[in-house]
Amino acid sequence: MAKEVIPAQLLKGIGKKVNDNEFTVKRENIVKACKALNNGGFEHLTLITAVDWQDKWEIVYHITKFGRKDVVVLKVTLPYNDPKIHSIEKIWIGAGWHERETYDLMGIKFTGNKDLRRILLPEDYEEFPLRKEVLYGNRS
């Protein structure tokens, strides 16, 4: 499939290219990067993931475009003691629930999300269960 839009040019000056479709973006540039991609025709936000590396957080965005074989990956690293990043709900409304889920299970705070409450777990739940510090059963 022809790659009519080259993401590297879209994200020039905003993100650093790691490989063909992967970019690392600084925390303060995430909204800018998503806006640039959205304007460049990447209209579908597939997934927001948080990964707990125990000394840092990694937030991974998978963004794609209809009719395109590959997915653009944006990665943002956050310091462990300050898991806060700006919400991209203004660009994709659907991102709101992804962010709520990430907050619910990982405890990442998305500033600017209008409705950042727990979504899957009960409201009075105290832990963020997907963090590595929360232990669950035995590994087998």
């Binding site: 936000l45 997934l47 074989k69 409304i93 659907g94 992804h98 009960p122 269960p129």
Partner: protein
């Protein structure tokens, strides 16, 4: 005067366990806030504590109405991170079963939709047709609802010629029977009126909310992972992506109805083209200890797989750390993302419309709550 009305979580028309906090004025819905998470089982956490091959039975339970779709999604993700290329026969066989699973899932969906709308006959008929396929699944994959048939690097059991014959007969029969359904639905004035013009989602809304699957295609979004990013052998069979422009409940019904025919066609082509050959790799992770326990994943490995599950785009994102356990496994349940538009669509609709809208959004809560 505005009244708060609580719908669910145990109401049958919520297709499982969805609670809707609705504010109504007379019969008009002013606000409808979905409350999900009643069967959240923490699958992503469970995955981190299980060896790769032990998560397969759990992956089946992500969407219990289309277990094979998620089984394949997980297995292919692990295969991608291990850089395994499965034999041709495996690819065709997997695609065949995925399409049979899609037919089963869509049949169940048509049945429950008709039940919600007040046409229980079709529900019973759909169950009858589905039963034939469940028998096939039991025969081929070893289970009626959840399987564990695919293993990392191939299949647990091969498909035999007699099973292929069974599949062909079942496909022929369901193709013959489907027009009967349409006489019960499309010729039925009430059924039509309950769906036409109800719950309209525009193309822009569908994109902004990140909807996928039949819901998005009914709003004119041309997105089907089988076409956009073909996996298995979808490139080598002839089929078309079904889209509609209207975006109402009726359009969503039509898309799924036509997709059954497409799936039948794909399955038949797969049966014809099913090549001979090995049904697993030599180093496939069979359940015998040495192979499954000694899976070596790369340190800092990464895999992202998207599949067209019956309910939309299902994705699994996997990070590995070189051990025999996933470091992080993220599941994108299409039902979860399709549900986030519920509040927006239901505003201004009547309470019976909410049932129709929810039925056509087709959430399955195993997949939504994970």
């Amino acid at each position: 005067m505005e009244t708060a009305l609580n719908i669910g979580p145990q109401h049958p028309s919520t297709h499982g366990v969805l609670r809707m906090k609705t504010i109504i004025d007379g019969e008009i819905v002013k606000k409808c806030e979905p409350d999900v998470g009643y069967i959240h089982r923490g699958l992503e956490k469970i995955a981190e504590n299980r060896m790769y091959f032990k998560f397969t039975p759990v992956a089946n339970k992500i969407d219990y109405l289309a277990a094979a779709a998620w089984e394949h999604c997980y297995i292919s993700c692990v295969e991608q991170v291990l850089d395994m290329d499965v034999p041709e026969r495996v690819k065709w066989a997997r695609m065949l079963m995925l399409e049979l699973q899609r037919i089963v899932s869509h049949l169940f969906w048509i049945g429950t939709l008709c039940m919600d709308i007040g046409q229980p006959t079709v529900f019973v008929w759909a169950m009858r047709e589905r039963e034939k396929f469940l028998d096939i699944f039991e025969e081929v994959m070893g289970g009626r609802m959840t399987y564990g048939w695919m293993i990392i690097g191939g299949l647990r059991d091969d498909i035999t010629p007699s099973q292929v014959t069974m599949m062909w007969h079942a496909l022929e029969e369901v193709e013959k029977r489907l027009p009967e359904y349409y006489r019960m639905t499309e010729k039925n004035h009430i059924f039509k009126k309950r769906l036409q013009g109800i719950g309209v989602i525009t193309k822009e809304e569908a994109i902004a909310y990140g909807l996928t699957g039949a819901v998005a295609r009914a709003s004119g979004v041309p997105y089907d992972v089988r076409k956009d990013d073909p996996y298995l052998k979808y490139e080598e069979v002839e089929w078309e992506m079904i889209t509609r422009e209207a975006g109402d409940c009726w359009a969503r019904y039509e898309v799924k109805r036509d997709e059954i025919y497409q799936s039948i066609s794909i399955a038949k082509q797969a049966i014809k083209k099913l090549p001979n050959g090995p049904f697993r790799l030599k180093n496939a992770a069979t359940l015998r200890p040495p192979t499954a326990l000694s899976l070596k994943t790369p340190e800092n490995g990464e895999a992202f797989v998207r599949n067209e599950c019956p309910r939309g785009e299902g994705c699994i994102y996997l990070r590995t750390d070189g051990s025999n356990f996933p470091y992080r496994l993220r599941i994108r349940g299409p039902s979860f993302n399709n549900l986030c538009i519920l509040d927006h669509v239901c505003r201004g609709a009547t309470i019976p419309d909410v049932v129709a809208i929810l039925a056509t959004l087709d959430p399955v809560f195993g997949e939504c709550d994970r």
